[in-house]
């Protein structure tokens, strides 16, 4: 492939209009909370950027992240940009397989040592390397091998970023996140199950435009996309504040679009751009279509209690615990009562009578 061709040239060759390209840059600029004027800069830089080498590894994952990027009805610009930049090696998208595919990966790694971006989706099983292998190579070995000469690692999706579904209790494969294995390279987490496509390309665009990584939050997520909670950006928030809640999925409250907190919405603890960017080219997002947020861009969201259990509810069954505690308390109480009574009785028994005569004697 011609590595000298610029991104702009590739996009034009693929029939992307200047207008469409500028629109994408404007969206990206606003998504990254940059002033609108920056759209020009982004466009200019992206235009000139030479196609970076991207190696995409998939471990314990469901391919949902790749689906999210590539299966939109009309080929989106995000999809094209991703395709344009990511074809050195991608298990699912590449035509080659077996030896040939692995050779392509190694070639790209040697040719672009120190410069390529490593994108990972899926978690890594540490319980037994045999749980997930590619061409006989365990996931952990492949990850460490590929990360060695990468410029940066982007963990796409909640599995790569935080362990995701495979790590859900009781974590049968001993799944871990990319960041717990790769320590000497910058790791950017782009969680979501799946992540919003434009957020994935936004991170790539940032890398291409500014040549560096965006500012990250304490969970390694780009602050520009994950800076605000769904709850703070939710259009149903006024109902939350007024105390108006849907109690079931088809009651009056649900029809009137009231807050979904009681139906288990995890929006208050979920940081993502869904409420502002939305999905399917800005069409809608889960809460808008009547379902609470499941918190998919947060660590361990599978273990956050039921999807339909309100965030403030305790997650364990309490009946038995409460019964046992009261029974225990009763037994301990009876024991304590017996002890107190025997103390009282023995005190009474050892009580010696003293007559006034004895007292007067002074003894």
């Amino acid at each position: 492939m011609n590595t000298v061709e610029t991104l702009g040239e590739i996009l034009r060759r693929r029939g992307v209009s200047r207008r469409g390209f500028m629109k994408y840059c404007a969206t990206t600029a606003s998504l990254m909370a940059l002033p609108p004027a920056m759209a020009e800069t982004i466009a200019a830089r992206l235009e000139k950027a030479s196609r970076p080498s991207v190696i995409w590894l998939s471990f314990q994952e469901c391919t949902g992240c790749t689906e999210s990027m590539t299966r939109s009805h009309t080929p989106t610009l995000e999809g094209l940009i991703l395709e344009t930049v990511s074809l050195d090696y991608h298990h699912t998208l590449q035509a080659a397989s077996g030896e040939g595919a692995e050779q392509a990966r190694e070639q790209a790694m040697t040719a672009n040592a120190g410069k390529y971006l490593l994108v990972v989706d899926g978690s890594i099983p540490m319980g037994d390397p045999g749980y997930s292998t590619i061409a006989g190579m365990s996931n952990v070995d492949m990850l460490l091998d590929a990360a060695k000469n990468a410029a940066a690692v982007i963990a796409v999706g909640s599995c790569a970023a935080f362990g995701g579904i495979p790590k859900a209790a009781p974590n049968p494969t001993g799944a871990v996140a990319v960041s717990s294995l790769v320590k000497d390279k910058p790791v950017i987490n782009v969680p979501g199950c799946p992540p919003i496509p434009v957020v994935i390309t936004g991170v790539l665009a940032h890398f291409l435009t500014f040549g560096g990584l965006p500012e990250l939050d304490h969970l390694g997520r780009p602050r520009v996309f994950y800076g605000e909670s769904i709850h703070d950006r939710c259009y149903r928030r006024p109902f939350y504040d007024r105390g108006l809640f849907a109690e079931t999925f088809d009651d009056e409250g649900a029809r009137k679009g009231w807050c979904l907190f009681k139906l288990g919405c995890k929006g208050p603890v979920t940081y993502n751009a869904c409420a502002t960017t939305k999905w399917n080219q800005g069409t809608s997002f889960p809460i808008q279509s009547g379902h609470g947020c499941i918190g998919c861009s947060e660590p361990d969201f599978w273990d956050l209690g039921g999807f339909y259990q309100a965030l403030s509810m305790p997650t364990q069954k309490l009946g038995k615990v409460a019964g046992a505690a009261i029974a225990g308390g009763t037994i301990a109480g009876i024991a304590m009562a017996a002890h107190n009574r025997s103390m009282k009785a023995s005190a009474k028994q050892s009580h010696e009578r003293v007559s006034t005569d004895e007292l007067e004697k002074g003894e």
């Binding site: 660590p299 615990v321 109480g333 304590m336």
Partner: protein, 221 residues
């Protein structure tokens, strides 16, 4: 990716809550049993007058200040009223709390708008600070106060303040603050049977007993 705020929240809502509830229920049952089983000496004197309902009446009448007392210690009385009523409203009428209670006992009721809860919270926090200030400033109260009093104040104040900060996304990230808030409530639950905060339960027993006893003796209560 070790202990994240989310891990803490998951623990607080799961194991932490179960543990705290178990300790609270165990302790409260034990305490009530202990108090009741102590018994009282048999009263051989005939009742002065038959005054049915004096026990129940006293449960409520003791919530009112004796004549003149409110003027004498306004901060104790008004501060006390504000924070007690405030705590009750916030605990029982904030919708997320109602949902938590529903998960435990299966009952629920309508909540108050968050703007109202917000105002009540501020009043409660201010009242709590005022009574603490008064406790430190007043010589007699200061002398009477021991570790238990400040500890009880602290573990009551903590859930209030962390709840308020979490709601307004102040100081810490919401998820972490929410986890801390729930943990502070759990601390309160655990301490409930073993500190003077047991009065949330024993208050009714004690007042009833006193009222009834005074009634038998023909004393105004």
């Amino acid at each position: 990716m070790n202990a994240t705020a989310m891990d803490l929240l998951i623990w607080a809502r799961g194991t932490g809550f179960s543990l705290a509830l178990a300790i609270a229920l165990f302790g409260l049952t034990l305490r009530v049993f202990e108090i009741l089983s102590l018994g009282r000496k048999h009263d051989f004197a005939p009742a002065r007058e038959d005054s049915p309902g004096s026990g129940l009446r006293t449960v409520f009448s003791r919530s009112l200040p004796l004549p003149g007392m409110a003027q004498k210690s306004p901060i104790t009385y008004f501060g006390g009223y504000v924070f007690h009523v405030g705590l009750l409203l916030v605990i029982v009428f904030f919708v997320p709390h109602i949902e938590a209670i529903r998960a435990v006992i299966g009952l629920s009721w309508p909540g108050l708008p968050t703007a109202v809860i917000d105002m009540v919270s501020v009043a409660t926090l201010l009242a709590l600070v005022a009574v603490l200030f008064d406790r430190r400033r007043n010589k007699v109260k200061r002398m009477l106060s021991g570790f238990g009093d400040y500890f009880a104040w602290g573990i009551t104040f903590l859930p209030m303040v962390t709840g308020y900060l979490a709601f307004h996304h102040l100081v810490l990230d919401y998820t972490l603050m929410l986890a801390i808030h729930i943990l502070s409530v759990e601390l309160l639950l655990i301490a409930l049977p073993f500190t003077k905060l047991t009065h949330v339960v024993t208050l009714f027993l004690a007042r009833w007993y006193n009222g009834d006893w005074f009634g038998r003796r023909g004393i105004a209560s």
